[in-house]
């Protein structure tokens, strides 16, 4: 088996990241490790690092890259990483229940009117009549693992349509794409920058939007170790401020187009340093632009959506039924809202 353990993976990735990053090292600066995935949804961290917002806040940030959200959550729990952004999953809540981590802010959100996550159908299923989510009854819906955000989305869509779907765990996004293309599974939901190229190839079809079923879905959240949230208040709020500045830059440039085309191009250049680095810029740019979704201003947290997700995980028996929102979320750092 070629499963790298976390230490090895981080060693490799850390070595790669360290060689490419020249973080401004001021002596009084606090060393902070920020975990990230190479997705456009993590752009706020990239921008804050590139435009020295972290440095201005007195934080010497080292970005550490992971292949999946789950090892990143465990790395926060073990203290190897200080702050990270990821989707709410059963694993994340379980770690919070064990007193290891806290959600301190919101990041990526679904917003009506902005292209969000898409519901996909395989070509075979599409031809057999799966042209809208209403036809999902009895179909196989791809998920990475039980208790993942895919599981939540699929279940919520099925619930809204009043149908039963069966979930097929496939562990990795790559495996899900393969299974969907070859018709082994019937449906899936995924962020637009992956959904659109797939649909463009004709092997799969977009049959709906997640935002129609889960408007204002709080997709990802900012989280940290319980120790940072409780004992390092200054550092944590400094981090959130710098992070929000990055998020704000991202929204105004990519969604509101305040800088026009030039602004978008410049932002794509910046993000391309971290995302799709294996592709040339011309090929990466459409994917980066397609992936644009709003990152909450000021890292505001949609507490209603978080509560809904928590309740869903509990109703499915994936996590302990006694976990409350307070064990999971520390609302003292950012503004919360209900939508």
């Amino acid at each position: 088996m070629v499963t790298f353990n976390r230490r090895q993976t981080m060693g490799l990735i850390g070595a790669a990241a360290a060689s490419g990053l020249a973080a401004p090292a001021l002596s009084q600066n606090k060393k902070v490790v920020v975990g990230a995935l190479r997705f456009t949804s993590h752009s706020a961290s990239f921008i804050a690092a590139e435009r020295a917002y972290f440095a201005d806040a007195g934080l010497d940030v080292e970005l550490r890259f992971f292949q999946a959200a789950q090892p990143m959550a465990v790395a926060i729990a073990s203290g190897d990483v200080d702050y990270a952004v990821t989707a709410i999953s059963g694993g994340l809540i379980s770690l919070a229940d064990k007193g290891a981590i806290k959600v301190i802010g919101g990041a990526l959100s679904e917003e009506p009117g902005i292209d969000g996550q898409k519901i996909l159908a395989s070509d075979a299923a599409f031809k057999a009549g799966l042209t809208s989510p209403a036809g999902l009854g009895g179909k196989k819906f791809g998920i990475s693992t039980a208790g993942s955000s895919f599981h939540y989305m699929g279940s919520k869509v099925a619930q809204a349509e009043g149908v039963d779907v069966s979930f097929t765990p496939l562990q990795k996004v790559g495996a899900i794409i393969g299974a969907l293309k070859s018709g082994q599974i019937d449906a899936w939901s995924i962020v637009p920058h992956i959904a659109k190229p797939l649909a463009g190839s004709g092997a799969v079809h977009i049959i709906g939007n997640i935002s129609d079923y889960l408007p204002n879905y709080q997709v990802t959240t900012v989280f940290t170790s319980a120790k940072n949230a409780n004992d390092e208040r200054q550092q944590t709020s400094d981090f959130l401020k710098a992070f929000s500045k990055g998020a704000s830059d991202y929204n105004s440039t990519m969604i509101d187009k305040s800088g026009g085309e030039d602004g978008v191009n410049e932002m794509v250049d910046l993000i391309h340093k971290y995302v799709y680095t294996d592709r040339e810029r011309a090929k990466a740019a459409p994917s980066i632009i397609n992936g644009t979704m709003r990152i909450n201003e000021g890292a505001r947290l949609n507490i209603a959506s978080v509560q809904d997700q928590l309740s869903w995980f509990q109703s499915e028996g994936l996590i302990d039924g006694d976990i409350t929102l307070d064990t999971f979320v520390d609302t003292s750092y950012v503004e919360t809202f209900e939508a």
């Binding site: 070629v2 789950q70 059963g90 694993g91 693992t145 496939l170 562990q171 495996a175 070859s182 082994q184």
Partner: protein
């Protein structure tokens, strides 16, 4: 011969043999387990082992009981056992056949040994997505993965065992005018059996390891799927309960092979 020589003081020779022979010490193995588990229990209860590091063994036991009472244990165990049985049976049977052929025929050896050497180091789990395309997402791809994983170690162990059969016995059979087929049946196969069975111990353990990998894709039920789900939910109690089941499977398989060894290799005594 004089009396003097007889009367010389005999040097007392202490018995220096003995030792270096493993004896059955029945309860020591159990004691090691008990000590380890109680350290875990005491540590997690008193708090110097955090809930993040290890689960409470008593909680694991409770999870196990819950699994048993809800009937979920068999819902998970039966698909896994059938995958294990079918996959390992295919892999081991084809592996033993191929190994014997390699041992007996030079052309087969020349053709297959490099191929087996090339297949052996491929991490089978890396081919999993490919298997899904070839065999579909349902049971067939899981059988194929386990069969593929047990095949190569079985082949290597089998042709090694055939090679190690005492040549003088074969020559003797030839002198007595035994037919080729008779030599294979009465000398080569029994002679190779100890090596084949110890090879099977390894390949069946690999089959259990691959069970978790096989259930990564598209398995809703199964011990491997259960462990993976517990891992992604960071549910240590369920994770350990699943791992204990795999360990028990390993112990049971090893015992079964030990039993087969005693039956088939009685001629050695």
């Amino acid at each position: 011969m004089s009396d003097a020589t007889i009367k010389t003081q005999p040097i007392e020779v202490r018995f220096r043999g003995g030792g270096f022979a493993p004896k059955a010490r029945r309860w020591v193995g159990l004691a090691v387990f008990v000590v380890l588990v109680s350290i875990m229990e005491i540590g997690t209860r008193s708090g110097w082992i955090s809930a993040l590091t290890l689960p409470k063994p008593s909680d694991v036991l409770a999870t196990f009981k819950e699994l048993w009472e809800s009937g979920l244990l068999f819902k998970h165990l039966l698909p896994s056992l059938s995958r294990l049985a079918v996959g390992a049976a295919i892999g081991a049977t084809v592996g033993v056949c191929a190994g014997v052929m390699i041992g007996l025929f030079s052309y087969v050896r020349a053709g297959l040994v490099p191929l087996v050497a090339a297949i052996f180091p491929i991490p089978k789990i890396a081919l999993l997505p490919l298997f899904v395309i070839w065999f579909g997402i349902d049971e067939a791809s899981k059988y194929a993965l386990i069969a593929f994983g047990t095949f190569t170690p079985t082949v290597v162990a089998t042709y090694g065992a055939v090679d190690n059969v005492d040549r003088s016995l074969i020559r003797m059979g030839q002198s007595f005018g035994l037919s080729w087929f008779s030599i294979v049946r009465k000398i080569v196969l029994p002679g190779a059996m100890p090596g084949i069975l110890s090879g099977l111990r390894i390949s069946l353990a690999i089959a259990i390891i691959l069970l978790v990998a096989a259930e990564m894709l598209g398995a809703e039920y199964g011990i491997g799927a259960y462990i993976l789900e517990a891992g992604s939910l960071y549910d240590l109690e369920r994770l350990f309960a699943g791992v204990v089941i795999l360990s028990l499977l390993g112990v049971i398989l090893s015992t079964v092979i030990g039993f087969i060894e005693r039956r088939l290799l009685g001629w050695r005594e």
